[in-house]
């Protein structure tokens, strides 16, 4: 089961996310669910980093199947808008995936 934890602050803004676990829906290299979650979440990180240029903290451990993104506590108003768009799009994609493969993915919204 891949666990996706979305961290929100008191204003319901996404301030980070953590993805851990293995989908176990197929062998490594053929696991379409893992590939989908990996692509959606790492593309979001890539967008924050390289498209918007937000200095996120990005942690990843391939062996453990773990990644974590933390946004800086201070964001400009403009960067906040861009990060909202990127992260809410990511969440929309993950939610749609979840509805199709809820045996293999869980989404947890954590309010800080």
């Amino acid at each position: 089961m891949i666990s996706v934890k979305i961290q929100k602050n008191k204003d319901s803004k996404i301030v980070g996310y953590e993805v851990s676990g293995h989908s176990n829906s197929a062998e490594h290299g053929q696991d379409i669910i893992c590939a989908s979650v990996s692509s959606i979440t790492q593309t979001a990180a890539l967008g924050l980093l390289t498209v918007v240029g937000i200095n996120i903290k990005f942690e990843r451990d391939e062996a453990k199947g773990f990644q974590k993104v933390t946004l800086p506590s201070e964001l400009s108003a403009e960067d906040q808008i861009y990060s909202d768009i990127i992260l809410l799009t990511m969440l929309a994609g993950l939610s749609d995936l979840y509805e199709q493969y809820s045996d293999f993915i869980e989404i947890i919204i954590e309010e800080k």
Partner: protein
């Protein structure tokens, strides 16, 4: 070097019986509304199999374990005694 590791969350086991091609039937489960979103009385907050998430304040569980809003309000997720809780805060 590529940034995206496409099989970051795939099991490492090689060989063994391949579950390839297995496609689970869509269960339409999942979180329908997220923390902070507005909801109308009666609407579904989330569908689930079993009761991994429990209804909190101003929420109730349907026969199929779905959690619904009792009142119009704002969806709130949290945890109580190690259990996930979905509640609705009055606006």
């Amino acid at each position: 070097m590529a940034f995206i590791l496409i099989q970051l969350h795939a099991t490492k086991k090689a060989g063994g019986s391949s579950k390839n091609g297995r496609d689970s039937i869509s269960k339409r489960l999942g979180v329908k509304l997220f923390g902070g979103e507005e909801i109308k009385a009666g609407s579904i907050i989330l569908r689930q199999r079993g009761s991994s998430t429990l209804p909190g304040e101003n929420a109730y569980m349907g026969k199929d374990y779905s959690i619904h809003a009792k009142i119009d309000g704002i969806v709130e997720f949290g945890e109580k005694g190690g259990r996930k809780i979905a509640s609705v805060k009055a606006k």
